[in-house]
């Protein structure tokens, strides 16, 4: 990690400084945490102050905020959506459920550990975390981008086999997303 930071060129540093001021979050309410998003977006907490805006389609978004537990059915859609997002992309796991299943540790329907399926940049613990926690995590993300450490999205291309294996295990078979991950990896000069 440290090597990578030192390797950054001046341009990349400036780029990070500017890019961190504009992060668009995908408007995808995956779980019950979605209830704390409207307060975060609107007048009380107003995350647009930090340049974070809700966006509609995965093509436009930078942040995929996983708001809570993911049932397997949703997880499929999340993987699809994640693959449709454009790099660099950051996943924020919100709530205990994304970390270890939380309340639903014994549920037959929800996944237990998000980072086995897609690379996660930051987690917010709690059930449910307050809007302040969301904003704090965004700030943490912003700082990570500034330091050039927010590179978890590259893991998806580096360790695609790991993610794919877990996905196929949970979905009991592959899913067709029409995304060529290998070709994308070449695009980013990975591998």
């Amino acid at each position: 990690m440290d090597e990578k930071i030192t390797q950054r060129s001046v341009w990349e540093k400036i780029s990070a400084k500017l890019s961190k001021r504009s992060l668009w979050m995908l408007h995808y309410c995956t779980g019950c945490g979605a209830i704390e998003l409207p307060p975060t977006m609107t007048a009380r907490f107003d995350m647009e102050r930090f340049g974070i805006n809700p966006m509609v389609t995965p093509r436009q978004a930078d942040i995929l905020l996983i708001t809570g537990y993911l049932s397997v059915k949703t997880l499929k859609r999340v993987v699809l959506t994640y693959e449709q997002m454009q790099a660099p992309k950051y996943v924020v796991g919100f709530g205990s459920c994304t970390i270890n299943g939380g309340m639903y540790w014994n549920s037959y329907s929800t996944m237990k550990s998000l980072d086995r399926y897609i690379p996660v940049e930051t987690y917010i613990a709690g059930c449910m975390p307050r809007p302040e926690a969301i904003i704090a995590s965004f700030n943490e993300l912003i700082n990570k981008i500034d330091r050039g450490e927010a590179n978890s999205w590259k893991d998806y291309y580096n360790n695609y086999n790991f993610y794919k294996e877990n996905q196929e295990h949970t979905f009991e078979g592959p899913i067709e997303t029409y995304n060529d991950i290998k070709a994308d990896a070449a695009l980013f000069n990975i591998k």
């Binding site: 019950c32 209830i35 409207p38 307060p39 609107t42 537990y69 059915k73 949703t74 639903y104 549920s107």
Partner: protein, 371 residues
Amino acid sequence: MSKIDEVRDYELFIGPNHPGIAGNYSFKMKLRGDKVLSAKTDAGYLHRGFEKLMEERLFIQNIAIVCRICVPDPDPNENNYARAVEEIAGIEVPERAHWIRTLVLELSRMASHLFSLGGHAATTGLYVLANWTIADRDRIMELFEELTGGRVYHIYQLPGGVRRDFPDGFGRRVLEVMDYIESRLPDYDDLAINNSLFIKRATGIGVITKEQAISWGVTGPNLRACGVAADVRKDDPYEVYDKLDFEIPTMTEGDSYARMIVRRKELVQSINIVRQIIDKIPSGPVWNKIPNPLKWKVPAGDAYVRTESSKGEYAYYMVSDGGRKPYRVHVRGASTTHGVHVLENLLAGSRIEDASQIMFSLDACPPEVDR
């Protein structure tokens, strides 16, 4: 005169990743031009298997998870659960606890209605109202936080009463918030409810007639917007609703606008109820002790308990076989009708512009459907 050789209908997916859907839910519309031919809802994105989880947990453990069934309006779940256990086990609840529970239920209803008003207006592009109501809702969230320690999930109503009494000066602060929200209502009226453009968008959309409403099993504010003055709080009173003086606002149009007006009027009624509660609440204990929860065996029996949540009739059917865990809990969410076939019926024949508005005007809550 020109003959159409082949009609090419197409499909659009509203949700799960779409701003035009409330929560993680989805419906697939079959369209021709801008007209919806048919719609098919698709649920289960939020399925956690609550009913199964409850069967594998102790009676006391379940209190922590029931509130998560309906996110915007969690308290009816806690209330239902507590009352079902009380009914089966025959536990008495202190008088003050009843009053506090009613207060919590009404505050929760207000929070949910404020949320719904904003969401409804936002579907027509009127984001200002959403910003205002959701910020005002936060005042109620703060009251909850003060009373229960939790903003969204309160885990407050236990079998036998409530977890803790009012903090000092809580009643005064509740009244302050009520005054504040009451003072904000005229602003909402100016912005949305009397906004000619919003009226144009919302009237005549998603019309449910009285007969349809009853045969489709519509409940709650949606039913009252069709002219049926049915309310579980009046018809099947629980807690202390029979001791309170309030009205059931109704409208006769049954369209999206009428549903909004009903919610707006219910806000006033809730403010009224909350004020009465703060005024009349008796003093006393708030919790009757129950046996050691880890070893507590609830006697065999069943109970069907209903509450009027902000979305409609909310019921639990609980069966106990005399063990330490519930044998079966069936959650009848209010949105099981609104979110599924009422929505499908209303969408068919509507226009694509109004699809999302119909969804939001029904105030369907997907986690209630999925559980």
